[in-house]
Structures are given as structure tokens and as C-alpha cells.
Symmetry: C2
Subunit: 617 residues, 2 copies
């Protein structure tokens, strides 16, 4: 059989298997799979360098299905490569099957979850950056994109980063099948529209017929021969290609073919061809950076430092100790203090400019290769990347997010710059850890602890200097807390974090003079929260005030309430949080206005104590 | 004085006043203001059509400072226009001042808050769409963008929408001052880099020296003469222009000048020139669409319908009744059922394609002009636009968000498509309303109620058909709830919403047979939640199980816990929520797996009842 005929056969097989998988499942996206079948057949047979027996080999290429709904095609490809059986293929979308509706890393060959569109290319940029600047290995990154998803701004963040960085190891395969979910895409088959855009962003562009296997083969070869620029292969394809009942038809998105049998017959019937994917050339070792002893910064108790600065200094120290730590910035490194790392470890610092989606996506891409990325911007601006963080959880990704400028305490800049919903958002990410230390030494320790914890870990830092409460040798751990003030006589407990720890301590001073001893919990680990310490405080003092520099919903207050949901007797509990829209004011004015300052905390405690005294009269 | 000399003088005055404002405040961004001073001077003096005495005039042009940190320039401009006094200018960033660190609608001439970069242009697209397709008025939209923010993908979503839609009434003024916060921007003064990108996206482009008032004047005239394409004026400027100590210097971002006096002297000293902004040509009336009687769809109790379909039918009915209702789609209208509206009211339907940031931004832009936008996509995908929703709250915007495909109940598609953090995220938006009805009639009523409520209102709908519980004449209101099952003998209460209402009712059937009468609260209004009904249920039954198709953090469970934070005696409370990462499975399998199905709810109630019986022995 000629190569062309064999590739055609393989493409047809992939289509048949995509149709069969969706048919067996009773749902799925066969037509979106069929348009890209030839593109994937040629890639697997002729250009991909991958060892299915060793999916974690550092030398492997990376294949990302940014159009994750084309999962039937991906799984059909895995079958053709001998990685999954026909039986498993037909378990698609069933409970317990690894072949989920959209790809996830439950399959060893899937490195990142996709299914929220426009994410695969930015993640691929992260992989390509890792290949070029971290691993320094010749692996290539191939990203299959749909045309509908090219409307997502995140795709253009990726186009900009890749084009500007000259990521010649990255190829975007644009499956221009003209039809979205609802109807025609904006540009239909106007390949030039995509070509102009990608070229303007500095990409090498190639327009082809996406069903012409020779043209596809040639395009991949051109991409491989373009070491200095990423390549966009703009492929004109037909949605549902090969099955006349659905080919190029509106209304055929996201459902099995009504007559699968007829389509399979038209596609030439079931086949079981095998493609041998070429293994990567052996003998390359990933680059590694020098490692040393961890010497975290330490701060004298009683001195002042900003937690953001402590993060910057700690992550820099961590960079000296660990070669796998990298830092990504959203063009605010001078504010987040990621700048310190940039100066010490320029080779492991990535300036993503103001593109938070790309920043988080790049972190996800890099952790695929075992790098430990810290991505830092203002706490408020992680809201820009929330979908990427959500998807990172489905990817089981190991990323560290650091949000500075928490809360109203930033002062004059006003609400657009204040992280006030970040705890709620990050708590509601599956498996996440949320940390919010109040001083330099705790921040330094937790910055280091994050590196040792696998998963999505969020560190919230503050703009202003705050007093150093803890000595440099105290321990801080995920799930822990501290009691900077406590006695057996405590009549109430204030649960606090970050800025409000210091306000709570001042409240304790005020109340001490009034004969009301107060316990202060520094709940620096908001998720998981230290339930044991909270329960003990409740049992000891019976009254709890939670004070936080955050909206009332979903933050520390709710985390504490959750601990006592089913506790009997439950403590009396009051939440102090930011409940009206802030404007500009000094930090102290802001805290007072929001009623989370020392005086407001003291007043809340007084009211609680008085109310019960009144009730008991 | 020649026109050129007068415009130069005005530009210098704006610089002086920006420097003075930041100096008085002790913070702010004077250098970012100075680069754009001439651009704004020429705009105000020669091209803007605006009535400062009637900021809500439908005929006014719209000016958006997408680079919101250049607020000193905006306020200096307001002073030059006679809108604010010099005294108020110098109140910049002080507590109580309307002149916040970043512009907000506390000032009557500011229509949307900015300060999170890359949002002004997408919002401006919404305003321009309103002008062209809704109001049908000749007003123009002018958006001042910084160069740093052009890295945000949302800018390219806007570029794509505007270019493709031929929004000739939109002008983006790109202030290319070469320097970002941290250092040089990606493209520096390579104006062609921006030109290529904007042109590729279908824009008319003009490159100018942004300090040449004649060139600026000519560029605006060209923009006005381009009715069929939006115009990008790409202006080479100098950050800190006019003050040699900071001009074109790194490290001078976001702080007052160290020697303001010297800079003011260099800029020619304090002036008090007034510019008379031309009022818009009078006599135009905004277009209005026909209005009729509201005839909401109604569903027979006992029949089945999907809440997403009820939304689609209700918003379509609302469109017949109210001419101000518009719908925006993220290319999933067939799934969200916004499609029904598209068919009935094509002139008020806006296909934003898969660009959720642009979709929400367009809604924000349209509501500025009094339109009542419903923006619909999958619940999960509002996470993509979370920063825009956060900023919409600061804009005091009146937008309706509708998220379909809530929770694990969607079944086979898997976690990437499941809204599982949407309630947490939307609750943590200041002033928001979060609704999650369980049947057709409640959804229809609440869809209509949303239109009457000013603010950010979120409706969460479900994919699957569910039984119609309520008659079409029952009332549903924001802050309300229903008791589909209740008696004086109830031993426990299940608080539920959406899918879990139906599971709770089935649990009640199971438990009734076991002699445990159960109350079921349909908490369709999650924020505000119906605290009175919950308190009554707690007092009556003492035991509460909250069941929700959402992560455990920040959802209905936390809203219920919050009600009982300070209640004595507090009820025993257990939260059932999705606590492990779902995969593909049928909807029923998913609910069982997540332990939020009827059997799991019944078991939780049983355990609670048993535990106390055991304890009381």
C-alpha cells in the first residue's frame, strides 16, 4: 500500500472508531473528531515522537487536544497506537472508564485536562517554554485546536507569548471545520482570516487541505524545519468528513450519528490497523539547575516586613535550594516581589506580561514536566484566570499561586485592586490549599511548604508591612494555625488571618484593659483549616468572632462555620468581613470603615459578652 | 493663540494637574497620565460630543479609560471641562472623595469602573454595539488603552468582535508609552507590531506621534470618517512626558513625582484653562423595540421540563413584553436555550462566540445605556469571566447572568463542563443575587424577576428535565423559598436547590415509609437566602441537612450555615455536597457517587436522627 493510501486508511479507521465510541456511549462529539482524523493520522504515523510504554519519558513529544470534545478521536488514536483496547474504546463515557467525555490525566498519556476551550494552546506554550528554557530538550509540542475556540482571548495570549518568544518547538494544528456548536463560526472557511491573525502575532503559517495527507505531512515537516518561530497549520477540514449524512451539516454537533452503521460502512467498515509511533531519540537528559541548602530568610520578632516581601525572599531562597522551582509573573513582579527571584534566577523566571490566563496555563504546562511553578500576581487578578485554575484541578496539576495586595488593607488604590473574593474562589477549587500568613517568618516557611505539597496551593500576601510575630524557628504547616495570644481564662476567641491577626491582637490589648481576656487564632491555613484548634477554642471560650479582610461569602468565616456545623454545643459565632463596597482611603481608614479593625473586633467581642451577661441576669 | 498652541497648553495643564493630584494624594499614576495628556486634550477640545450637565443624555459620546490607573488625567480633564473644582481634584484618593484611585461610577461621568486592565475595550464594544444596533444613535465610543494591557486576551476578543462587526463608532486610542509597571513592554515603541495585529483583526489603523496635536486631531477625524470599521489610533507617546526627571524612565510607574514642584515649573506652571466640550447634536431619540403584555410560559405540575428550557422560553416572553431586554450568547445558545430568544428577537440577540469575557463586558457596556442584558453560557464557563463580573460589581452594573449545565447532574460530559464552583464565585460578588430554581414555573418567574432587580443577578439552570412542582400562579421572589414538603411533625429538614430538591423529595418519600417525616426547603434564592424559613425549620425540626450539586465550599451549605452562625440553640447541621472529582457517568450515577442522591440524603437524615436517639438513651 502506498503511504498515502495507508494514511488515508488510518484516518478512516480513526473516524470509524470515533463514530463507534460515541455510538456506544450514546453521547459525544464524533463529527468534531472526524474533521481532524487525517491531521492526527499523519501526526501519529509520521511526526510524533512518543513512547507509549514510557509516558513520563522526558524525551517524549507532547500532544494536547485543546478541542477536548474531540476525545473520541484521541481515544481512537490511542487504540490505533496499541495503547487502549477496542473494548476499552467502547467503554467511552461510562462510569469507571478512563475514557472520559473530555480527556483527563486519568489516562497516562493525557497530561492536562481539556474541555474548557482555548486552554490547550496556552498550556502548550508552557510545555514549549519548558522544553526550550528549562528541560532544554528537543521535544515538540503539538496542539490540536478547533476553530470555534480561536475566539477565546486566551488563545491570543498564547499566540503573543509563543510568537514573541520564538517557540519553534510549538505547532498549533488549527482544525478549521467551519462549524461550531450552534452554527457557522465567525470566519467559516476563510483560512486567510486566521492566517493574517497568526502571522501578525509572529507565527509561521501554512494553509492546507486538512484531508490531503501529503499536504499535512509536508506542513508538519515545515513546522519541524522552523526552529525560530511557532507554526500554525491552518487546515481546511470538513466536520463529519466521510459520513455524508453529517458532513458539513449544521445541527450535527455533539451527538452520536443517528445511523452509525451506515456511516461506518461508508467509511469502509471497522479496521484494526496499528500505527507504530516513533520513539524519541534516546540519550538526552533534561537540563537541571544547581541545588543547594535551603536558607530561608528570617525576620526578627518585633521588626516589620511585608508578607509579599517575605514571599519574594523565600521563593528566591527556595530557588537556590531547589533547581525545580520556577516563577511566573503577570508584569507586576515589583509589586508581588517575584522580582527578587527574577534577579537571582533569571533563567527560571518567566515574564508573562499582563496575561493572567497565559501565566496560569504556562504554570500548568511546566508542571507536566515536573517543574514546580509559582505564579504570582495581585490576588484580585487571579479572578482573570479562574477557569484555568478550575481546569488545573481537573488536570491534577501541581501549581503554586501567589496573590498579593489582599483586601481593603491596600488602601488608596481602591476596590479594583483589592483581592476580596480570592479566598472564596480558591477554596472552591477541588483539592486546593489556601494559605494566608500574617508575618514574615510564617510566610517564608509556608512558601517553602508549598513546594513540598502536590496540588493547587494558594498563598495570599499583603501589601503593607506588618509586625513579625513569630521567631524564625517556629513551624508552620498546611492545616496548622498559631495562637499568638491565649490563656485559660479567655472569654472569647478571635479567628483571624493576615491583616486581621494584627487587628485582633490590638483588640486583645484593648479588651485586656477591660478585663476581658481574648484568645487570638492565627488561621494562616484557611483550607484545610485547623479544626482541632478551633474546636478547643470553642470549648474553652464559647464565643468566636471571625475577622477577615474579604467579602463575607466563602472566606475564612465560612471555613470556620463549617467546622462547627455539627458541633454540640456550638459556640456563639459572629463574622466580621468587608460588607460594603470600599472606595479610596488610607489602610487604617479602610479597616475601620469595613469594621474589621481592632476597635470593631473589640466591640463585637464586648457585645457578645454583654449580650450573654444580660441574658443570664 | 493658534489652535495648536492652545491644545499644547491644555495638554500641559492636564499634566500639571495630574502631577498635582498624585502629589496631593501621595500615590497614583502621574506618569501614565502624562503620556496620554495630549491625546485627551485634543479629544475633549475637538471631537468628544458630551454634555457634562446631562451625563445620562442618550446622545452623549462615551469615553472609557481602559487604563484606569491614569485616573489623574481623567480627573484633570474633568477639571478642565469645568466638571470638578480644583479643590475636589486635590481630594484625589482621599476617604470620601469621588475621585477614587481608579475611576468608578461614583462620579456621574464615569460609566464603568476600570482598573483591572484589558476591560475597557471589551466594555466599549458593548457600548458601540448598543449605539449601532439598539439605541441606533450616532454617538461614538472612545476608549483610551495602555500598551501594557494589550497583552490581555480580552482585548483581542474585543478586537475580533469589533472588527468583525464593523463597529465604525468605536475608536481605540492606544497610548504606546513603551513602559509598563515593571519595565519595558513586550513591543516597546514598535508601533507596527500593534498595527499588524489590529489590522489583521479588521481594524482601521493610524500610527501617529501622540504628542503632535495636529496629527492627533487628524487621526480622530479619520476615525470619524470610517463608518464601517473601528479605528485604532496607535500613538507613540512618552511616559512622564514633559517632566525630564521621569520622562521615558523606568522605575517611575505608579508613584508621585519626587519633585512635583520642579516638574510643574518645567511644564509651565499651574493653569486654569477651560475647554468647552461640544454637546451632541440634539434631536435624536434612541430606538425602542415594541412592548407587549408579559405572558410567561407555564408548565403543568407533574410534567417534565428542563429549567434551561424554561429560562429560554421565559426570556423570550420577556423580550415580547419588554423592549429593553437583550440576550448575549457564548456560542452555546442551543444548550442554554437562549436560542429561543435569538429566533424571536434576532435584533436584540448578540452572538459573542466563545469569548465569555467579551460577552460579560458587552453586557456591562449595554446596561450603561439602560438595556437589560441577559448573558448566558454554561455555569462552568462564567469562571472565564470572573474578573469581569467582579469589576461589574464595582461598576454598579445591572446585568443578568444565566449559567446552564449546573453540577454533576449533567452526567457523561465530565467535570470540565460541570458548574461546581459557580455559586461560591457568584456569592462572593458584592451585592449579587444567586438563584437556582428547580422547576419550569419557578424558573420562568425568576427569569422575569431578574429583569426588575437592579444589580448582578445570577440564574443557575440545569441540563436535564425535572418534574414541574409548582403551579404557574405561584409566586417566587428574590430572597424567597418554597416548602414543597412540610408538616408539624417533621423531624428533620433538607435544604436543597435545583436538582437536589427532587432528590430531597424522593428522600422524604423513603423516610416517610420509615416513620421519619421530613421537611424539604427549596432554597431557590441562595443569595439572599430565606433566613426566616430556615430559622423556622431549625426551630421546628432541630436537624438540617443541606444537599447541593456543588463543591462543599461557598455554596448553599455555607449560606445556610451563615444563617445559624449566632443562633441559640443552633440546629444540628450536615452538609452534603460534591467532594470528590467526578468523571463520566450517567446523571443518576453521578448523584449517587457524589452522595447527594435521595438515598444518600435519607441516610444522612437517618444517621442524624439515630445519633441523637442514641445520645439521649
Amino acid at each position: 500500500m502506498s503511504q498515502g493510501a495507508w494514511l488515508y486508511e488510518l484516518g478512516q479507521q480513526l473516524r470509524v472508531d470515533a463514530v463507534r465510541a460515541a455510538d456506544a456511549a450514546g453521547s459525544g462529539h464524533p463529527t468534531s473528531s472526524m474533521s481532524a482524523a487525517d491531521l492526527m493520522a499523519v501526526l501519529a504515523a509520521r511526526h510524533l515522537r512518543y513512547d507509549f510504554d514510557d509516558p513520563h519519558s522526558p524525551e517524549n513529544d507532547h500532544l494536547v487536544f485543546s478541542k477536548g470534545h474531540a476525545s473520541p478521536l484521541l481515544y481512537a488514536l490511542y487504540k490505533a497506537c496499541g495503547a487502549v483496547s477496542d473494548t476499552e474504546l467502547l467503554s467511552y463515557r461510562r462510569r469507571g472508564s478512563r475514557l472520559e467525555g473530555h480527556p483527563t490525566p486519568r489516562l497516562p498519556w493525557v497530561e492536562v485536562a481539556t474541555g474548557s476551550l482555548g486552554q490547550g494552546l496556552p498550556v502548550g506554550v508552557g510545555m514549549a517554554l519548558a522544553g526550550m528554557h528549562l528541560d532544554r530538550l528537543p521535544y515538540r509540542v503539538w496542539v490540536l485546536c478547533g476553530d470555534s475556540e480561536l475566539t477565546e482571548g486566551s488563545v491570543w495570549e498564547a499566540m503573543e507569548y509563543a510568537g514573541d518568544s520564538g517557540l519553534g518547538n510549538l505547532t498549533a494544528i488549527l482544525d478549521i471545520n467551519r462549524l461550531g456548536q450552534r452554527g457557522p463560526t465567525r470566519h467559516g472557511w476563510d483560512l486567510d482570516a486566521y492566517q493574517r491573525r497568526a502571522a501578525a502575532f509572529g507565527w509561521n503559517t501554512i494553509e492546507i487541505d486538512g484531508h490531503d495527507t501529503a499536504a499535512i505531512d509536508d506542513a508538519y515537516a515545515q513546522a519541524e524545519a522552523s526552529p525560530e518561530r511557532p507554526t500554525a497549520i491552518i487546515a481546511r477540514t470538513v466536520k463529519g468528513a466521510g459520513a455524508s449524512a453529517v458532513a458539513n451539516q449544521e445541527g450535527a454537533h455533539g451527538k452520536p450519528l443517528s445511523d452509525a452503521e451506515a456511516a461506518i460502512a461508508e467509511l469502509g467498515g471497522v479496521r484494526d490497523n496499528r500505527v507504530t509511533v516513533t520513539r524519541p531519540e534516546a540519550g538526552h537528559q533534561p537540563h537541571s539547575f544547581p541545588e543547594g541548602r535551603l536558607e530561608l530568610p528570617s525576620y526578627d520578632t518585633g521588626s516589620q516586613t511585608a508578607t509579599r516581601s517575605a514571599f519574594g525572599e523565600a521563593v528566591t531562597a527556595l530557588g537556590h535550594a531547589r533547581g525545580d522551582v520556577v516563577v511566573l509573573d503577570g508584569e507586576v513582579a515589583d509589586s508581588t516581589r517575584a522580582q527578587y527571584f527574577a534577579k537571582a534566577h533569571p533563567e527560571r523566571f518567566f515574564e508573562c506580561y499582563i496575561a493572567e490566563q497565559q501565566m496560569v496555563a504556562a504554570a500548568v504546562g511546566m508542571q507536566v514536566r515536573g517543574w514546580v511553578p509559582y505564579a504570582a500576581t495581585f490576588a484580585a487578578f487571579f479572578s482573570r484566570a479562574y477557569d484555568f485554575i478550575r481546569m488545573a484541578a481537573i488536570s491534577r496539576a501541581n501549581i503554586k499561586l501567589v496573590g498579593s495586595h489582599a483586601g481593603v488593607a491596600i488602601g488608596q488604590d481602591g476596590p479594583s485592586q483589592m483581592g476580596l473574593e480570592d479566598i472564596a474562589a480558591l477554596r472552591a477549587v477541588h483539592g486546593s490549599v489556601v494559605l494566608h500568613p500574617c508575618d514574615g517568618n510564617s510566610t517564608a516557611r509556608l512558601t517553602a511548604a508549598m513546594a513540598d505539597h502536590h496540588g493547587i496551593t494558594y498563598l495570599r500576601t499583603m501589601r503593607a508591612d506588618t509586625p513579625v510575630l513569630y521567631g524564625p524557628d517556629e513551624t508552620f504547616e498546611i492545616g496548622g494555625s498559631k495562637l499568638p495570644r491565649s490563656s485559660d481564662a479567655d472569654q472569647a476567641t478571635v479567628v483571624s488571618a493576615g491583616t486581621t491577626v494584627h487587628e485582633a491582637l490590638r483588640a486583645a490589648d484593648i479588651l485586656e484593659r477591660e478585663g476581658i481576656p481574648l484568645r487570638v487564632v492565627d488561621a494562616y491555613s484557611i483550607k484545610p483549616v485547623d479544626a482541632a484548634t478551633l474546636r478547643r477554642a470553642a470549648a474553652d471560650t464559647g464565643r468566636i468572632v471571625v475577622a477577615e479582610d474579604h467579602w463575607p461569602e466563602g472566606g475564612l468565616g465560612d471555613a470556620v462555620l463549617d467546622v462547627f456545623a455539627d458541633t454540640r454545643p456550638s459556640p456563639r459565632l459572629m463574622k466580621l468581613a468587608v460588607s460594603s463596597m470600599p472606595a479610596s482611603a488610607t489602610p487604617d481608614e479602610q479597616l475601620a470603615e469595613a469594621r474589621i479593625d481592632a476597635e470593631s473586633i473589640a466591640e463585637a467581642v464586648r457585645a457578645m459578652v454583654r449580650q450573654e451577661e444580660g441574658a443570664s441576669v
